[in-house]
Symmetry: C2
Subunit: 201 residues, 2 copies
């Protein structure tokens, strides 16, 4: 009965992704509309504001990134250290294969967005890490024999923060192979720490 939609939400997000890939956080609604091949009004028909559009783009991208991690975790069931190191390596791999999405990932950080996100997406942002946090706890227990906050933090540093820190300067450009080597070395070293700072075993 209604007029058929010419653009889907996903297409708008794709256009936004493409713009973000070029201009980073400086995207304008006019840019996105031009990329989409439509007027700005059509975008506002689906997204309440620029903030919401960018937040949704970020959320979609984070979910896509996390999907790779979940898939990975099922591959080597029973070898937690291997899963953890591979999770770390997933970061440079993902950024190399999807430079545009990598750029979108660096649009926000969860705690910051949680504070400033528009009403409609707040909840999605809040629950975004639930699944991945559960996985992290499970792997932490398997690796360390404990899932204390301090142990989980080490795992997070080794698999997420350090790897992302290493690729970040290369986001927007080709990620050289040495980053993967450094990521592996760094992850293994951090995973060999105890929260006290001593080496394990």
């Amino acid at each position: 009965m209604p007029r058929p939609a010419k653009f889907t939400d996903e297409e708008v997000l794709d256009a936004a992704l493409s713009c973000v890939s070029d201009d980073g956080a400086g995207v304008t609604m006019a840019d996105v509309a031009a990329r989409l091949g439509g007027p700005v009004g059509s975008i506002y028909h689906r997204f309440a504001s620029r903030d919401e559009l960018l937040a949704r783009l970020w959320i979609r991208t984070v979910r896509d990134f996390q999907a790779g991690l979940f898939a990975l975790a099922e591959t080597y069931e029973g070898d937690p250290e291997r899963i953890l190191v591979d999770s770390a390596l997933h970061v440079p791999r993902y950024c190399r294969e999807h430079p545009d999405r990598a750029r979108a990932l660096s649009l926000f950080r969860q705690p910051v967005l949680l504070a400033s996100a528009p009403e409609g997406v707040r909840d999605d942002v809040a629950s975004l890490n639930d699944g991945i946090d559960r996985l992290a706890r499970r792997l932490t227990r398997a690796h360390y024999g404990s899932a204390s906050a301090a142990h989980v933090e080490l795992v997070l540093l080794a698999t997420r923060i350090a790897p992302y820190g290493l690729v970040r300067p290369y986001v927007g450009a080709p990620v050289p192979p040495v980053i993967d080597q450094a990521t592996r070395a760094s992850a293994e070293a951090i995973l060999s720490l105890e929260p006290s700072g001593r080496r394990r075993r």
Copy 2:
């Protein structure tokens, strides 16, 4: 003969630093003027534009950060590995002691600023890393016995990129001690790599 200056460049930069510490890259000229206790016009009297003001603030902060590295390098002359690991640890230390300056450091990255910097500061940005690069090459040669581009890159990853990546999520908040442990572990691990990816020795 002229009217005496009420504000110095440094005071304006201090006010800008203070604002950046609160609002990050979102500072407005009005914010800075309010913090300074003067009108916006006075700021434009010394800084041609907002871009220039922020660029100069960033440059001043980077120089301050680098000064610590230079001082450090003279301390343990003859023990390159110790200097390198300590250089890595300088990053979380600096960010913990100077949270406001840490925030200012994350305002730009050199290659990006180099492309977009206003005329007057372009040269300063371009030469900003000259000294530190020389130091890095010297220490790379001392540590690896070679200062090939690949070796220098490893040193850069170990002492600058990985450490900064580890603290970055904490910039704007207290930096926990575990970051220092992770930084040390990560730096040592990366410095034990050869460009081929193999372990040294």
